[in-house]
């Protein structure tokens, strides 16, 4: 027997319009799903959501639940208005780690949908802001069974609470010519080195790894990750001069001046040459390009405009920035360069990045205050103390400019300067 539907006049308005409607989707489950349990829970959640729309308030409360053996990974949701909408009084979300780059086969997504339908509400999201697959709407009886089922075929929970969180990686080397690193390998080496810290929240607060294969940073890693890995290169960028010439004439045609070489050149001056942040590119009279690679900051703009003509170099690696985060609680912080460049090729390279991450997390776990992100700790103690704490030497790539306040104790200057010269000598010897 069909149960009574909660009226949803405000939500109904969101069924109109050209963009796909989540309301239509939830209603479809409510009205047409063969399983009465799913029809009921979606009816309840629509009722509560309509109530939120009418009163302009939220009605979910958190709590503490997890699957057997883990301490996190599930976002508990108990309704404060469960007496009004008892069908969905528990509506927990399971966070599941996707593969780096969010690749799936249609078969795998069907298999996940089938499992979820057997246990949960039938609602899911690809993906939440942290990067998890969100299976939204399990109750206390069902989440363990769902997890057990998908865990058997290769899926594991992500992080929730003060722990290492699920990572995010861009499309990367799998499809993008701009990529400078193996995002799949970096992502899995890091995340799967910390599974214990993902599943058992015991850190001061959240810690996020994000991997972008180039400085376009499609994963927003610098602003949003405690540990941002950005692919880059340090040798010369590659120029296909024939393709530069082709691009000039192609641009001329695109702006409606077919065959007008001067118009194509002007476009390149306006959109490539003059946009280079360090003035490192020259367009020569013969339509070839010259790049001052020693002053190129790898911003990616010229490569973005001319992907066929300009390419990244061969000596690829990553830059690592630490301490990025969103607003809570001292305002947004961009990450700071900690490792200007490191190669990511050999097993030793991967060991080194894992060791670095472990050192940083250990130092932060030891010194961070409760609910303090790594970047907030760096701000509180100062970058120099952080560097000393994790055993790294200062590098001018870490700063925008040197200090402008003279009030500082400098009685260690001579030793610091000597250490700098010694490091430079060692680098030179290592390079020789």
């Amino acid at each position: 027997m069909a149960t009574k539907h909660y009226p949803t006049p405000m939500l109904d308005v969101l069924e109109e319009g050209p963009w796909p409607s989540f309301i239509s989707g939830i209603k479809n489950l409510r009205d047409n799903h063969p399983d009465e349990r799913i029809r009921n829970v979606t009816n309840g959640v629509l009722g509560q959501l309509e109530h939120s729309y009418e009163t302009r308030m939220g009605y979910w409360k958190g709590g503490t639940i997890s699957v057997y053996g883990y301490g996190g990974g599930i976002i508990p949701r108990f309704s404060e208005v469960g007496h009004m909408f008892p069908e969905s009084k528990e509506f927990h979300t399971l966070r599941v780690q996707p593969p780096a780059g969010n690749y799936y086969t249609t078969d795998m997504l069907r298999q996940l949908a089938d499992s979820w339908e057997r246990h949960g509400s039938g609602l899911q999201t690809f993906h939440g802001q942290t990067g998890n697959i969100m299976f939204i709407g399990a109750d206390s009886k069902s989440y363990q069974g769902f997890f057990d089922e998908i865990n058997e075929y290769g899926w594991d929970l992500g992080g929730a609470g003060p722990c290492v969180r699920t990572g995010m990686s861009c499309v990367g080397s799998a499809r993008c010519e701009m990529s400078n690193c193996n995002e799949q390998a970096i992502h899995r080496h890091l995340l799967n080195n910390f599974t214990d810290d993902v599943h058992r929240p015991a850190l001061p607060y959240k810690f996020k790894f994000k991997v972008s294969g180039c400085p376009n940073d499609c994963m927003n890693a610098i602003e949003r990750a405690d540990f941002a890995i950005i692919g880059t290169w340090r040798d010369e960028m590659k120029i296909d001069q024939a393709a530069v010439k082709e691009a000039i004439m192609k641009k001329a045609a695109e702006i409606g001046k077919e065959g007008d070489r001067a118009a194509g050149r002007q476009y390149m001056f306006d959109n490539v040459i003059s946009r280079c942040p360090t003035g490192a590119i020259k367009l020569n009279d013969d339509d070839t390009m010259t790049v001052d690679n020693s002053n190129c900051v790898r911003c990616m703009h010229c490569l973005n405009v001319m992907p066929k003509a300009l390419h990244t170099g061969d000596d690829k690696g990553v830059s690592i920035l630490m301490g990025g985060k969103r607003t809570l609680k001292i305002g947004d912080l961009m990450g700071t360069v900690i490792i200007p460049f490191m190669k990511m090729e050999t097993e030793e390279d991967y060991e080194r990045i894992k060791e670095l991450a472990s050192t940083v997390i250990d130092y932060w776990a030891e010194n961070g205050l409760e609910h303090e992100r790594c970047g907030e700790m760096i701000e509180r103690i100062g970058l120099v103390n952080f560097l000393e704490g994790i055993g790294l030497d200062p590098d001018p790539n870490m700063i925008k400019q040197p200090r402008n306040v003279s009030y500082v104790r400098m009685d260690g200057w001579d030793e610091a300067a000597e250490a700098w010269f010694n490091r430079k000598r060692e680098e030179k010897m290592a390079a020789a």
Binding site: M10, L11, P18, W19, F22, G25, I26, L29, N32, L49, R56, G58, Y59, Y68, G69, R77, Q97, P98, P99, N102, Y103, Y104, T106, D107, M108, L109, A113, W116, L123, Q124, T125, G128, Q129, I136, D156, M168, A174, R175, E177, Q184, H187, R188, N192, D217, I222, E223, I230, D270, N271, P277, M300, H301, N304, P307, K308, R326, T327, L328, D332, M334
Partner: protein
């Protein structure tokens, strides 16, 4: 009981290669360049000469299993069974056969999934959880996105913007989302209302005190019960106390409003990454379609479209024309609330005679 429980397999992040299109697997790290045959479609060419086409479509993000299966049916019948999702919850279908692109685009459009979101378009708004399943939301998220994308769908499907526009929403001031070229974020304008009967039983008071960024919360006895009190003059209404202490209700049907921030840019292209800046506030949180917020967003987009040069992101456009002109062309009021006023704010003040007349 515990003896019957199953031990988890701590497999962590799964291997992505098993789900990649074979052409992508074969040419991993060997891509040479890409082209954009039409909005929503990319073709990537590998050094081997192999190509892979990608068709990108918008979704409602909150997917029901019926819609997910519909998307998979399209992937099986018109694609090659391989998909991925972008950071903004668009679905992408990868195919090695270019002849499949047009039928795939048509199938998606016919099923109601707009194809677009590439290059200089307005990308899908990324969003947070909202009233649907967050425990501290000031507004909905999925609904705001649906309402705005209904109005911006043509910009999603076209290439009419000077450069890409990334828009986001965030349903509280902690902001798990809400960073990008245009961010529509919650702004509370009144301090939390405290239910003193519950604080002593529910909240770990010292950690709530410690959570306040401006030290406005202190322990207090209220009506003979241990509770907390807020110095309302100091309170910045951020709501940071609310998650650890639900009796400190920050959300309000009237005083929880929306604010719009612009110019957040994550890419290092041309200029360094930038934060978004406040441009408009006092916007009513007005479900189900939030028309006031949408109108401001559309106005900003229109000014950007008309005023910016090719490749300029919103922050770069404003940087070039100056903030006074931004407020002039958009017609938005400039107020004292736009001026940062803490110790580090000096970097946001104009210490030069660079003034446009």
């Amino acid at each position: 009981m515990a003896a019957e429980m199953r031990e988890p397999i701590e497999s962590g992040c799964p291997d992505g290669f098993q789900y990649m299109h074979p052409v992508m697997r074969r040419n991993y790290g060997q891509w040479l360049y890409h082209e954009d045959p039409r909005p929503g479609v990319l073709v990537h060419v590998a050094r081997s000469g192999e190509k892979v086409w990608t068709v990108r479509a918008g979704t409602q993000r909150i997917l029901d299993v019926f819609t997910l299966r519909k998307l998979m049916d399209i992937g099986d019948h018109y694609g090659e069974g391989y998909v991925r999702f972008t950071i903004r919850s668009n679905i992408e279908y990868m195919v090695a056969d270019g002849a499949k692109v047009e039928p795939l685009v048509k199938a998606l459009e016919d099923a109601g999934f707009p194809v677009g979101g590439t290059r200089n378009s307005v990308a899908t708004l990324s969003h947070t959880q909202g009233w649907l399943h967050c425990d501290i939301p000031g507004t909905d998220a999925s609904g705001v996105v649906k309402a705005m994308m209904d109005e911006l769908v043509d910009e999603f499907k076209g290439w009419n913007m000077p450069n890409r526009v990334h828009m986001t929403t965030s349903c509280c001031q902690i902001n798990c989302g809400g960073q990008g070229d245009i961010a529509i974020n919650v702004q509370h304008v009144k301090p939390p209302k405290i239910n003193h009967n519950l604080v002593g039983n529910i909240c770990e008071r010292p950690s709530v005190v410690a959570r306040c960024p401006v030290a406005a919360i202190r322990p207090a006895m209220v009506d003979g019960k241990p509770s907390l009190e807020v110095d309302e003059k100091k309170c910045i209404c951020c709501g940071a106390c609310y998650p650890p202490c639900p009796p400190m209700q920050i959300n309000d049907h009237q005083y929880t409003q929306l604010a719009i921030w612009i110019g957040g840019k994550h890419s290092n292209a041309r200029s360094k990454p930038t934060f978004q800046r406040l441009v408009a506030a006092g916007i009513p949180n007005n479900p189900p379609r939030w028309p006031e917020a949408t109108a401001i967003v559309k106005k900003i987009l229109q000014c950007y479209k008309e005023g910016a040069r090719d490749w300029e992101r919103i922050n770069e456009w404003v940087e070039r024309i100056g903030w006074p002109r931004f407020f002039e062309v958009t017609g938005l009021p400039f107020t004292k609330y736009h001026i940062d006023n803490w110790r580090g704010a000096r970097t946001n003040l104009n210490s030069s005679t660079h003034i446009r007349f």
